[in-house]
Symmetry: C2
Subunit: 522 residues, 2 copies
């Protein structure tokens, strides 16, 4: 499934990154930094047509998985007044450690410089210390210099607030939200009403968030404007341990990497969720079920299982309110193991804070009619990283003598599902092909292309990840028989023109295999 590119060292991954980003730009997946005609600003990107289709597929997968688990989607404002961010703690403590070059005065995130250095040294996944003075020591030990001009850094790390400030009305101080989570908690009394006081319940939100990062340099992985997708599961504390829906997922085998295993440098354990729970890796069945849900989401995007692991936060890595915390990490060719989702038991922290600041009672009633603040388990991720991961994992750059560059995205996630080509621009082929294209467009994202030699057109759509191409030749016009081509095997088969749609439908739903068709033997 995954491609053969493996990151061995800095050079390979830099080379890969360069190729990958050029591919994204040239083939119409991601453009930027945006706005390009004005020089571009770090951390802002544009989803080009194919990238946007891919992102929509990721977002629709999220909706489908959450909805099946009875989570309901909401959409909350992205701009909120100051008091909200005082309550959430973002105005006080939401800062990045910034260090400045003593010579060129460029600014960088100290923790990211350290982690990039670890990655180069083959110590993937090792994290920077949290305190500013410890970071300075580590930077000096590792001999980290300014990436721009190679000079020494100033011996000071400053805390830079990440919030983008704005104004509502004439003078109300407000901020572009730095996360969706806080905004999802605010309508809590409405949820209790909507769910008719029945807990547990889940809600989720997919939407923009903003962090004024200092010199973000990791493409879609670290943007100043990005799309988050976060599920919030509200449950009474007493119900967490025995949560019954756990039974549906308990036999699922997942790759657990506990903090003990990380410290003792033992590997990932592939065990069932139930075994992990019994061993005490996961504190309760409700939290364990949310970890399974997170994994399920990333599986649904088509991320290969061998590229995923669940990494437990060490005690000193957790937010002070977090009762348990695991990350889902995805192995990228361009950046190594990368955090793509976090599952956090936030307990009553957020509701308590907003109750305090808003002076409203944020409670639900237990079956015994007792007022209680429920716990919140959060599944926090975004959609930019999954899109980046899919491009990173399934892009295969080949040298000319080795074959063709191809985007081997799993078929169900392909941005464009089918291409229609007239073999030649004559004898009714373009007219018939156009008609078929228009019919297929009712159901699928399709492209029509009549320009250039057929081989070049096949190549072009392989680079775009299009699973199937339909070619309209003389036989199609005269006998109603056309050719369908499979992207990965490059096999071709003859099918009836009036069975194209049903054939595609069966192929996409795995009702038939390509080899079940009338394959042309070469």
């Amino acid at each position: 499934m995954a491609n053969e590119n493996v990151v061995d060292n800095k050079k390979t991954s830099e080379e890969f990154r360069k190729n990958l980003i050029a591919f994204m730009q040239q083939k119409g997946f991601v453009w930027g930094p945006s706005p390009e005609i004005y020089g571009g600003i770090s951390g802002f990107y544009t989803y080009a047509p194919l990238g946007k289709l891919l992102k929509n597929n990721v977002e629709n997968s999220i909706r489908k998985i959450f909805q099946k688990q009875d989570f309901w989607e909401v959409e909350c404002p992205t701009v909120l007044p100051k008091i909200v961010w005082e309550a959430s703690g973002h105005l006080g403590g939401f800062t990045d450690p910034v260090i400045k070059c003593s010579k060129c005065k460029s600014t960088f995130r100290a923790d990211k410089l350290i982690e990039e250095k670890y990655f180069e040294l083959g110590e993937e996944g090792k994290t920077a210390p949290i305190e500013n003075d410890k970071m300075l020591t580590v930077m000096s030990e590792l001999g980290i210099k300014c990436p721009s001009c190679k000079s020494e850094f100033e011996q000071e790390i400053k805390s830079h607030n990440l919030m983008m400030k704005t104004t509502i009305g004439l003078d109300t101080e407000a901020y572009n939200r730095p996360e969706t989570a806080t905004t999802t908690y605010l309508p809590f009394p409405r949820y209790v009403e909507f769910f008719r006081s029945k807990l547990p319940f889940g809600v989720f939100q997919i939407g923009k968030a903003y962090r004024n990062e200092i010199s973000p340099r990791q493409h879609l992985l670290r943007c100043r404007e990005f799309t988050q997708a976060e599920g919030q599961f509200f449950i009474f504390e007493a119900d967490k341990k025995e949560y019954p829906a756990f039974d549906k997922v308990k036999d699922k085998v997942l790759p657990f990497w506990t903090y003990t295993a990380q410290n003792e440098e033992t590997g990932v354990e592939h065990i069932t969720l139930e075994a992990a729970y019994e061993k005490g890796y996961l504190k309760n069945r409700a939290y364990a079920s949310c970890v399974a849900l997170a994994y399920n989401l990333f599986e649904s995007f088509g991320i290969p299982v061998e590229n995923m692991r669940l990494r437990q936060h060490d005690l000193d890595e957790r937010a002070f309110y977090a009762d348990d915390a695991w990350d889902l990490e995805v192995k990228l060719n361009a950046f190594g193991w990368t955090e793509c989702c976090g599952v956090h038991d936030r307990t009553t922290y957020d509701l308590d804070q907003h109750a305090k600041f808003s002076k409203k009672e944020l409670i639900a009633r237990t079956p015994e009619n007792k007022k209680e603040v429920p716990h919140v388990i959060e599944i926090a991720f975004g959609t930019d990283r999954p899109v980046f991961a899919l491009l990173d994992i399934f892009f295969e750059k080949k040298d000319k003598d080795q074959g063709k560059t191809i985007f081997k995205i799993p078929y169900h996630m392909a941005p464009v599902k089918v291409a229609v080509f007239p073999l030649m621009k004559k004898a009714g082929m373009p007219e018939l092909a156009r008609e078929i294209y228009e019919d297929l467009s009712e159901k699928y994202i399709a492209v029509y292309d009549q320009a250039g030699p057929i081989g070049k057109r096949y190549l072009r759509v392989s680079e775009q990840g299009v699973p199937y191409s339909v070619t309209i030749d003389f036989d199609a016009v005269e006998k109603g028989i056309c050719t369908i081509r499979d992207r990965d095997t490059e096999k071709q088969a003859k099918i009836k023109v009036d069975e194209i749609e049903i054939t595609l439908d069966k192929l996409f739903r795995n009702k038939i295999k390509f080899d079940d068709l009338d394959v042309i033997e070469n």
Copy 2:
């Protein structure tokens, strides 16, 4: 189709608005102004679970219609640096006329106060003058006073800029975008590459925009944060007149209300697009096709045709660069005829401006290989207004003696598609109903409900607009036969438990009618 509520006067529409907004809040469609626990800020709303599903349906309709017309979706940043908005003209001229109460100092938009007064007087659709001094005169003629305290206004109208300012990095001045359009134009050189220099081409964007309105008071119709959906069609000037795809839509009958007809107070003409073109109502076939596309979008949302009209801008109403401009208006019970979409021929204005400010050549090459700046025809709308319109038009509040409140949303747009109820909480009914609910959830947005008498549960889902309810009784458990109920007719039919999904599929795709089922005669 549409309900019987007709706006006769101020009182009726105020009463209707009150009921409609209460319905949206209580049933889980739209909450706000948000954040409610902190008192709420005008112009910010939260899409609650049912409202968000409805909004997703609207947005997916937009994608489907645009994609069928070969428009490609992009997603551009929502925060852009100052220079972009200098080029677009938003920093200079994007202002609202604001007037202040001489007593309570509340501020309002003068133009909106005038238009609200016209509406009360039965002069729907009449617009306020553009110049500040003329507005003052009209306000005085109409005797408009402060809506808050009924005092006189100060005799001055100030221009208030609508942009929400922020900062990127340490000190780059930037703004939350006030529209998607400008951001869609910026990657123009990339489009030319992506479409391999073949014009015309279309792109669209669905995303947030921000306008710091003064005291917005029209619920989702005028938000400070809102979702736009805008299509941009790039075409060489020489190709606009004979645009061949016009032939596919030319026989479509549309409701045209030219500015001449508005001034002469003659009515709307229902004529074909071709007739409208021949009469000179629409300047060219490319523009006419975009008007048809706009209408097609709103038809796809399920807005009844009798609630739509196309209103031409008068010459002095158009933006100075606009070569032609028509609005699609929707008749609302709460606010009368309301602009929901504008189709503007922006000519080369935007590309010229950004070429000038970015010092980049923004051109394409004609088939004769001549450099040329293409024209842009814009289809500008949003998704909040269609959601509001669907709720406004299909909500039927009934008094207790008149029957039941119902949300008669067209079935294809319903947020939740099916409800599953066990008749009683015993004899295996909840278990079977739950299993059916889980199966149906694979394909449809479904709800499960076992609380309360069955009649109350039917009522509850009718208020939510759920088209079909499936009830699991003794027969279902013992003989595999259950009951399906139609929302609008309240008819019930017997169907096999293992044919629920296929029956729903046929009903939603109009392959069968409800009466074709084994309907139970009362």
